[in-house]
């Protein structure tokens, strides 16, 4: 085709060429990395917690009368809640997935002070815990009611039984299927043995950006204290109706306590990923805006470039070039410029990504983003140049003979 003449023409007039190519390159670098971040965050945000998010809510009961008998109060509360209409089950526990605050301890395969452990999130529950959270027990069994112990600030020893998530099992015994951890003994607090009696499919920890977010353990302990958290699971669809009822019931059942911090699991998730969701929206806006600006920029530069060459176009037409040939010329010229731009852009995008991985600990972009961005920018370029190129075809051959 006419690549030869086009290239030579471009070499004579490098400015337009460099400007468009550079703009495409920088746009591509931004676009690829922004989309990479969007992808990474979206994947993060879509991870399931493993609990019945639609029907769970929780609240804190704060007793401020120091003489109160915590155990009696908690037992009474749980009975009342569990027997309320619309409530499926309830449990007293320390935290919920994605809450942002919680308890973690290290589990070891061998006892001893010098052994490296694995951090695991702890959930202190009773035998209703699994049903309340709605997690899936895939192997072994749940706790029995008589295996649950009351602890307070004084108690130090750890109960001898535990239920872990698949994430924990896979981290402790990476070469075996998760179920194989049943019956094994692991050690907490350096030397206290815990036998695993059950495996739950998934129950995320409280910290969504923690590398160990899939590692949790259910511990058969009720920790009595002045401030406790009740997690309540309602029958499907009853959550909003039941929430104020439970709050009122607890608040009016004794004068020396406050009910506070009532949240749904759904809101907890939203709060947990608030910044990620915002970043996704922000970056999407930037990518769209950037593409628009670059597109318009190319339209402008192409119009300018065409306007400068009206005499040349007129001459070519006078010498017999057809309208489609002129159109093809400009589309092809833009394609070559865009190609230079996207190749430069690919290198710039990778360089930018390497720097951001270094500096900000981001993830590397998926390889297919580069060709996807290249195709997008080729398309944007061609679309942008179409208008000016069409106008170029309308230049009359007679222009060649005029001196203006």
């Amino acid at each position: 085709m006419e690549t030869g003449p086009i290239l030579r023409a471009l070499m004579h007039n490098k400015t337009s060429f460099i400007l468009i190519a550079l703009q495409i390159a920088v746009t591509m670098a931004i676009m690829v990395n922004a989309i990479g971040i969007i992808q990474e965050r979206s994947i993060q945000m879509s991870r399931p917690t493993g609990v019945d998010e639609a029907n769970i809510f929780y609240l804190k009961s704060v007793v401020f009368n120091a003489a109160a008998n915590y155990e009696a109060q908690i037992t009474e509360d749980l009975d009342a809640i569990r027997n309320s209409p619309g409530v499926r089950n309830a449990v007293m526990t320390n935290t919920v997935p994605l809450q942002g605050g919680g308890w973690s301890s290290e589990l070891q395969l061998e006892p001893g002070v010098d052994i490296t452990g694995t951090g695991v999130a702890m959930y202190f529950v009773d035998e209703q815990g699994i049903d309340t959270f709605g997690v899936n027990l895939i192997a072994g069994r749940n706790f029995d009611a008589n295996e649950i112990n009351w602890h307070d600030f004084e108690t130090n020893d750890w109960p001898p039984l535990g239920i872990v998530t698949v994430g924990t099992a896979e981290e402790l015994y990476p070469d075996e299927p998760a179920e194989a951890i049943l019956g094994k003994t692991i050690y907490v607090n350096s030397d206290e043995p815990v036998t695993i009696i059950g495996v739950v499919e998934r129950m995320q920890a409280a910290w969504n950006s923690w590398s160990g977010v899939e590692r949790s353990m259910l511990v058969p302990v009720k920790r009595g204290s002045s401030a406790v958290r009740y997690v309540i699971r309602t029958e499907p669809g009853y959550r909003d109706e039941v929430m104020p009822q439970i709050e009122d019931m607890l608040a009016s059942s004794g004068s020396d306590r406050l009910i506070r911090g009532m949240e749904t699991m759904a809101d907890t998730r939203k709060q947990s990923y608030l910044e990620d969701a915002a970043m996704v929206k922000l970056l999407t806006f930037i990518v769209v805006l950037l593409t628009a600006i670059t597109g318009l920029g190319i339209v402008g530069l192409a119009s300018f470039s065409v306007a400068r060459r009206t005499k040349q176009i007129g001459t070519r037409r006078a010498l017999g070039a057809t309208k489609p040939a002129i159109l093809r010329y400009f589309m092809l010229e833009n394609f070559i410029i865009s190609s230079t731009g996207v190749v430069g852009g690919a290198m710039l995008a990778i360089a930018l990504n390497i720097w951001m991985v270094e500096a900000f600990n981001l993830q590397r972009i998926a390889w297919y983003l580069i060709p996807a961005a290249m195709i997008t920018l080729w398309a944007v370029g061609q679309l942008a140049v179409f208008g000016p190129a069409r106008r170029a075809t309308n230049v009359p051959p007679a222009l060649a003979t005029r001196s203006v």
Binding site: Q23, V62, L258, L274, I293, G300
Partner: protein, 439 residues
């Protein structure tokens, strides 16, 4: 001649309204994007206590696990244990010092109309208020005697004073917290350090606590921290006493030191203290004590969100795209005005004159772009508020001050001038003869 160039510049802008507006718009959008992120970064990395920030030092001792640093690669814990905090406090080697931790109290206002409510509290020694220059509306903090005697005093903030005492001077009155009466010794004025530097471990952009009472009282009531508590080994003894004697970190210790000599002296003291503890079998890790002043500590803890830094990088690249657009538009304008330039040159204008004219024109466009850019920045910050609105501290991040406004205009003018360099150089290179032929 300068005013003549300004006149020429303005008339040229008028003659090419579309091109000029596009240029102004391109610069404005680029500046808007950049300054929005810069504003947020500027506020987040601002100095919360500029007149004292190099006098206040945060103390870190490496009391952690011999097999595992608190934080890779070799960073000591960000909080101190009860044992170490109280020992350093008792030694009194610094000019001023404060030991504190975050906790919670339930306030029981008098009268049947007002229900009890929970208040974010800080359990602290007396030095807190003077060291951190906390503003008081009424009264003041307490003194060392109150600390030593475990007096039930409390400092409350303006909002709680409104809520419980109707906003009047409540110094000397009693406030019941968790069933016990505390004497109000002071009411805080509005206090909003950004970030909340004295406790970055538990929410660097949180509001400050609402209620403050003596550390000794809090310990006597066996109150734990409502912030982060981390232990690398299990608690040895039983109950709260066991917890106090453990290696769990849960409080913050700050000292006030003036000048390099005092800083070095204190560091030497810390090293000596750790040596003495090592003799008792504690501190198995190598010596790794740190003394960081406010800004050093903020930087060490990377208080500015990583996302902000990422956006900053992307925003600058965005500005570059906008500037490339501007260069193209300027080139187009120069080509259109080629005849004009040729004429001026033929009439005797030097290259320098042409250069000056077009640079000034670019400056005018930059100025216009900067002013429009301020509006764009405001829009951008409102957008941020909509996106991140649920975070309480966002309202403070989107305030524009004069520094940001001026920076916007300066950045716009500088960018416009930079973008204009190449097209203006091209303009100077236009030969008069080539243009006059076609006229």
């Amino acid at each position: 001649m300068f005013s003549y160039y300004v006149k020429l510049g303005l008339s040229s802008i008028r003659k090419n309204p579309i091109l000029s507006s596009l240029m102004v718009a391109a610069i404005a959008v680029g500046i808007g994007a950049c300054m929005t992120v810069i504003n947020i970064d500027y506020i987040m990395s601002g100095n919360p206590i500029p007149h004292r920030s190099d006098l206040l030092y945060h103390v870190q001792l490496d009391s952690w696990d011999p097999n595992d640093a608190y934080d890779d690669p070799d960073r000591p814990p960000d909080q101190v244990t009860y044992l170490d905090g109280t020992a350093l406090l008792a030694a009194g080697e610094a000019r001023r010092q404060v030991l504190s931790y975050k906790t919670g109290r339930v306030i029981e206002p008098e009268g049947d109309d007002l229900r009890p409510f929970q208040a974010d509290s800080r359990s602290t020694t007396a030095g807190f208020f003077a060291m951190f220059d906390v503003p008081f509306l009424y009264g003041s903090g307490w003194d060392k005697n109150a600390d030593d005697n475990e007096e039930f005093v409390v400092v409350i903030n303006k909002e709680i004073n409104e809520r419980v005492f109707g906003g009047e001077d409540s110094v000397g009155r009693m406030l019941t917290m968790n069933g016990e009466p505390y004497r109000v010794s002071g009411v805080l004025d509005t206090w909003d350090p950004m970030p909340k530097f004295y406790d970055v471990t538990n929410g660097p952009f949180n509001q400050v606590e609402e209620v403050y009472f003596p550390f000794s009282v809090s310990i006597a009531h066996e109150l734990g921290s409502r912030g982060n508590t981390s232990c690398w080994r299990p608690v040895d003894g039983d109950g709260y006493a066991g917890f106090l004697g453990s290696e769990c970190i849960w409080m913050q210790f700050w000292v006030e030191l003036h000048g390099e000599n005092e800083r070095q002296a204190y560091h030497a003291f810390l090293d000596a203290y750790v040596e003495s503890q090592k003799a008792l079998g504690r501190f198995p890790r190598p010596m790794n004590n740190r003394l960081n002043n406010v800004m050093e500590w903020m930087s060490d803890q990377e208080v500015v969100d990583k996302d902000v830094r990422v956006l900053l990088g992307l925003a600058f690249l965005f500005l570059i795209v906008c500037l490339l657009n501007t260069i193209g538009l300027l080139l187009a304008k120069v080509t259109r005005r080629a005849g004009d330039i040729g004429l001026r040159r033929a009439l005797g204008a030097t290259r320098r004159a042409v250069f000056a004219q077009y640079i000034v024109e670019a400056g005018v466009i930059g100025l216009a772009g900067g002013i429009l850019g301020i509006a764009m920045t405001w829009l951008g910050l409102q957008g941020i508020r909509v996106l991140y609105g649920e975070l309480d501290f966002i309202a403070r991040l989107i305030e524009m001050d004069w520094a940001v406004v001026s920076a916007a205009v300066v950045l716009a003018v500088v960018s416009a001038l930079a973008a204009a360099l190449y097209p203006t150089w091209q303009a100077c290179a236009i030969q008069p003869a080539s243009q006059l032929k076609a006229l």
